[in-house]
Amino acid sequence: MSTFFTSRLFFISLALVVIAATLPLYVSGYVLGLLTVAFYFGVFAMAWDLLFGFAGEVNFGPTFLIGVGAYTAGILNAQFGWSVYPCIVLGALASVIAGLVLALPALRVRGPYFGLTTLVAVLMLQNFIVVFADLTGGEIGLTIPDVITIDAGANYWIALGFMTISAAILYGLSQSPIGLVLQASGQDPVQAGALGFNIVKHKLAAFIVSAFFSGLSGALLVFYFGTASVGTVVDVAVGVNVIVSAVLGGRRTVLGAALGAIFLIVAGEFLRPTGELATFIVSAVALLVVLFFPGGFLGAALSREARS
């Protein structure tokens, strides 16, 4: 842990953040907008990696947590006229509560069943939104009256700052004793239990942290978008993107997940002129990375550093 502040990874991350912070001075609003979304996705992916990479639990429904946070914030603002910041905080809290309700029973089942439970949760949320259209805006989506700011540069800095702080916390957590215990329980639950660790408690904590950051990021994102819709924050396809980002960036690296998310969103945008082909190309790249560098971007880089 203490070696982190002198490690190459730390300086590279610091340099990247500093460079990124200067971008609004010389790039277009269009690029800033793209990166703003990418940074929020980065948080989704990092939060997901804490669960999968460390606790060893595959959450197929990251958008359940994201969506609950996003819609809670959106509904409170649009339907009840609450102001922006309480909405964001409550969005994050709602996500934590929803995460608890989901995880408590789901963590009791082993292996693939946890993943299936999380997937079903997404589908239920999606149905709920469609059925209670009066409240949620249904399939059309919910228009959100308030914004944090309309300035593209400010929005960009908020997203960057939020991602940086989240990254610091999530990475720090992953490297702390709790991260070690999580990894041990993910690796071999029986042995972790015999070493005296209450695995369910630790995994639950990881789930709560993951839910908090997912929900918070989701809530911030809807205030940036100005709308909440199934297609942007709940759909299974969005969740798949989050998962692909994390795997692409490097499992168990946390920071890699953010890189993966930025890559995925920026690449998708660059390829937009190719139309339908874009998704295909991005998916193919992701598949190739997973097949030939199973450690992901950062995993491959880290192991090269370790070898030299």
């Binding site: 842990m1 720090g172 957590l173 702390s176 004793p177 709790i178 070690l180 215990v181 990894q183 041990a184 690796q187 071999d188 029986v190 042995q191 239990g193 015999a194 070493l195 005296g196 660790f197 209450n198 695995i199 408690k201 630790h202 904590a205 168990r252």
Partner: protein, 493 residues
């Protein structure tokens, strides 16, 4: 020691029973273990030793019975609670954190079960270092587990188990896969746990080492106690001899000249294999005649598994491997296996979530229905336990039962050449005898060719027509088993 406790055993087990569905794995077991005592548990494969240990530790929830620790009944508590009361367990199959160093792996075991410790204590790090030194990992503290030799990985397991200074240490098969010299070192370590006043419970099939180590031993069979007492008394017990120890393994080597094929069936010529820069095999040449039984004897890390994996087509190599006149280079592992060269790997590679029967049927899938049925019937005669357990999920079998299943699955493929990599790992003496008989029968009734990799020479020699000794990636000796003891046995006997 507290006066009240001084006349009371640290661990008292009463009427312990564990049922899995219809199967009673442990039946009404009772014993005491005192502080400063090593208590052994022996019995054939599947007799319930591991289950008994896991029930004490809380990994399996006992169906009934009491586990009394310092006067308190802990039966039914979850493992993490029991662990915190003062229990540590050494697992047979370890899965250390591969991205963390040895020291960090030990550190994990020392952490409190708390969600609020964000930075490891300096004192904990010091203690982890001390434990590493204590179990002989001092020189490799900063290495990562994947780079460690097998024995060091086992040391790491010991280190984790004693990290929090438990009063009861449970050790399941610590000696499996270790060399003679390493077994002695581990025996000393386990003895030192006892001398520190811990209560130690030990399971292993290395009868000699167990007998030398334990103060008392309980022999069990089919989940029940046969007898408890001093090791020498228990080993003399008639039932123990019959169900566990079995008879001596007979030898019968055939001279090489008795094999009629002019060109050996399998020739490995000047084969070298590298893992990165490390050379795992250096100019290895061996040959095996049709119908011959050849043993490759070598300590851990000598290169046995590498040699077998090379023959099976998994690794790139220089030199030639020729089978029945054809070069094998360029043939895929799947094709090699289909053509009758079947390897039964050390790591078993069973399909854990499939049943015993399904695993066997997969092995015999290329056979016609009646041939498969006949082969299965023959196999069940060889390993009756597999017949009983056809419906059980493979991963829930006991260690030895899994080994039998792995061998059984390989035999279902009706191999022409069968490669057995450390088949005796984790097998009870009586099962060794059964396996031995099976191999003898195989040799007499079929024309199967067997290549056996072993460090257990008491098993490897009797079956072999010829023996090679592999040491540090090279073949250093070749000859018939009769000459082995005199010329090459120093490291093994």
């Amino acid at each position: 020691m507290d006066m009240r406790l001084s006349n009371r055993a640290v661990l008292e087990v009463r009427g312990l029973t564990k049922r899995f569905g219809g199967l009673t794995a442990v039946k009404n077991l009772g014993f005491d273990v005192n502080g400063g005592e090593i208590f052994g548990l022996i019995g054939p494969n599947g007799s319930g030793k591991s289950t008994a240990m896991k029930s004490v530790m809380g990994i399996e929830r006992p169906t009934s019975g009491e586990v009394i620790f310092e006067g308190e009944n802990v039966a039914g508590l979850p493992a993490h609670k029991i662990a915190r009361k003062g229990f540590g367990m050494v697992f047979q199959h370890s899965r250390p954190l591969n991205r963390q160093t040895v020291l960090e792996n030990i550190l994990v075991a020392l952490l409190p079960d708390s969600l609020f410790m964000l930075f490891p204590d300096k004192a904990l790090v010091e203690r982890a270092k001390w434990i590493a030194e204590r179990v002989g990992l001092g020189n490799v503290m900063n290495r990562r587990p994947p780079t460690l030799p097998f024995a060091d990985l086992r040391r790491l397991e010991l280190a984790k188990a004693i990290a929090r200074d438990p009063k009861v240490v449970l050790v399941d098969e610590p000696f499996a896969g270790l060399t003679r010299a390493e077994v002695d070192i581990f025996s000393d370590l386990i003895r030192s746990f006892r001398d520190e006043g811990r209560a130690v419970m030990l399971v292993d099939h290395n009868v000699k080492s167990v007998a030398a180590l334990v103060d008392r031993v309980l022999a069990m069979y089919l989940g029940e106690e046969i007898v408890t007492g001093r090791a020498d008394e228990v080993m003399k017990n008639e039932t123990v001899r019959r169900v566990y120890l079995g008879g001596a393994i007979e030898t019968h080597a055939r001279p090489e000249t008795s094999f009629k094929d002019k060109v050996p069936l399998l020739q490995v010529e000047n084969v070298s294999v590298f893992y990165g820069k490390a050379q795992a095999l250096e100019n290895v040449s061996i040959h095996v005649h049709e119908g011959e039984f050849v043993s490759i004897v070598g300590l851990n890390g000598a290169g046995k598994t590498t040699l077998f994996n090379t023959i099976s087509g998994f690794l790139p190599y220089s030199g030639e491997i020729v089978r029945g006149g054809d070069r094998l280079r360029g043939t895929s592992p799947a094709k090699i296996a289909r053509s009758g060269l079947v390897q039964c790997p050390e790591s078993r590679e069973l399909f854990g979530e499939m049943s015993v029967r399904e695993n066997l049927d997969l092995g015999g899938q290329h056979l016609s229905d009646d041939k498969r049925a006949a082969q299965l019937a023959w196999l069940f005669e060889l390993f009756p336990i597999l017949k009983e357990r056809q419906g059980q999920m493979a991963q829930t079998l006991s260690g030895g039962e899994q080994q039998m299943l792995a061998i059984g699955r390989a035999l279902m493929m009706q191999p022409q050449i069968l490669i057995l990599d450390e088949p005796t790992l984790g097998l009870a003496p009586v099962i060794l005898e059964q396996l031995s008989k099976a191999l003898t029968k195989l040799r007499q009734t079929t024309s199967i060719t067997v290549l056996l990799g072993e460090q257990n020479v008491t098993f490897a020699l009797p079956h072999a027509d010829r023996v090679y000794v592999l040491e540090h990636a090279r073949i250093v000796w070749e000859g018939d088993p009769g000459r082995f003891a005199a010329e090459a046995g120093a490291d093994f006997l």
